[in-house]
């Protein structure tokens, strides 16, 4: 069965390591924070200028001057630091973030990513997405494998305007975990109960399927 949004977040959380500085995009990536393993600690960076983002505030704690990149009210952890936007993106663009998780419309076999603009629809802007994909050493893209109408989002070549070129190596979809190697998607893991055939059918870009494709380890 395809992974739920929560299960996708659970799988991504397995990539976290103790001491990681992590930037989580809006949507499924945000959920990853709920599944940090008990025995490790990570620190969340919010690109508007907060390193060490905490939980949402209580009613009493709400502070208009303390928000995250999604413009939501948040709190700061003990040991947090706050910086201006240039210093915040220096962290991101300088490659100091250990893991960045973000959504996408499309990814292709050359590591290109499209996530911000659908021609014909109103363009609202890229925000920090282009900086995040260009700067993070280690990016995981997470999205459904195919659109609701069944069209693959893993392409030979992105059709939408790019957010970044040649910068993606790792993708988690609701069906599979894949890595990009030598201009092809390599199928590394299947969602529990999802067949290789289904993944093959829903992957438009070149796909390398190893002899053995293990199932993901998703806790019940």
């Amino acid at each position: 069965m395809a992974l739920t949004r929560e299960q996708m977040a659970q799988r991504i959380a397995q990539e976290l390591e103790d001491g990681f500085y992590v930037n989580l995009g809006i949507g499924i990536p945000t959920l990853v924070a709920n599944y940090v393993p008990d025995d490790i600690e990570v620190m969340l960076q919010s690109e508007n200028g907060l390193l060490g983002m905490g939980q949402f505030p209580t009613e009493d704690e709400i502070d208009a001057d303390m928000i995250n990149a999604g413009k939501q009210t948040v709190t700061a952890l003990k040991g947090a630091s706050i910086m201006d936007s240039a210093d915040s993106f220096a962290m991101i663009r300088g490659g100091h973030i250990d893991l960045t998780v973000l959504g996408a419309f499309e990814v292709d076999v050359n590591g290109n990513i499209a996530s911000w603009m659908i021609p014909g629809k109103l363009v609202k802007g890229m925000g920090g997405a282009m900086d995040l994909v260009a700067g993070a050493e280690n990016i995981i893209v997470t999205m459904t494998h195919a659109s609701k109408s069944g069209e693959s989002k893993l392409l030979q070549e992105c059709t939408l305007p790019l957010t970044g070129a040649g910068c993606i190596r790792r993708i988690l979809t609701d069906l599979a975990y894949l890595e990009i190697e030598n201009g092809a998607f390599v199928l590394k893991e299947r969602a529990p109960g999802v067949s290789v055939d289904e993944i093959v059918a829903k992957t438009a870009g070149e796909l390398v399927v190893p002899d053995h494709v293990p199932e993901m380890n998703i806790p019940a």
Binding site: I62, A64, D65, M66, D84, S85, R93, G128, M130, G135
Partner: protein, 232 residues
Amino acid sequence: MSGFDKRVSSYEEALQGLEDGMTLLAGGFGLCGIPENLITEIKRKGTRDLTVVSNNCGVDGFGLGLLLEDRQIRKMIASYVGENALFEKQLLNGDLEVELTPQGNLAERLRAGGAGIPAFFTATGYGTPVAEGKEVRDFNGRPHILEPAITGDFAIVKGWKADTYGNVIYRHTARNFNPLAAMAAKVTVVEVEEIVEPGMLDPDAIHTPGIYVNRLICGTFEKRIEQRTVRS
């Protein structure tokens, strides 16, 4: 040091010299840390054909959104816009021009403008529509694009505390683009919640040194919240 007392006595005086067609740099991220009262004064003043550099353009009826109502903005340089319907309408009508720039590039371009760096190379935006017409060069085996600095005629900035010399401290994530806008304009106007005497702020903790501040005024702020999220 009378020459260093940056205080002005009214918002009208604070924005004296802001004229039609000028480039205005505005601090703030979403509605957080925006110079509310300076924006209101620009609306009252009716300055038109402004090029506004700001990460966002407010919402309907608040923040920079107020300047859309009378079409005071001709061009917007921003990373994310369209949190309000009026913006969308003016954009589709062709009444408003938008230059989208990645958030990190926007921040760095403002800093560069303030720091006397006319252009810098960055990987951000390579291979995307942002790179169109820009020079591409490889460094460390990766392609980068050349981005120009941004400077402005006026900057409107929201601080927390300042001393009379214009040394400013920001509060929490309301800092965002404010110190960068402050660096990059010919005339920088800062509104704050409290003005104190010189010597009351720790010299080691100043975010914007007074050298960047031309005019200073104390105001009261609504601080509207865009996404009020709480935990149970």
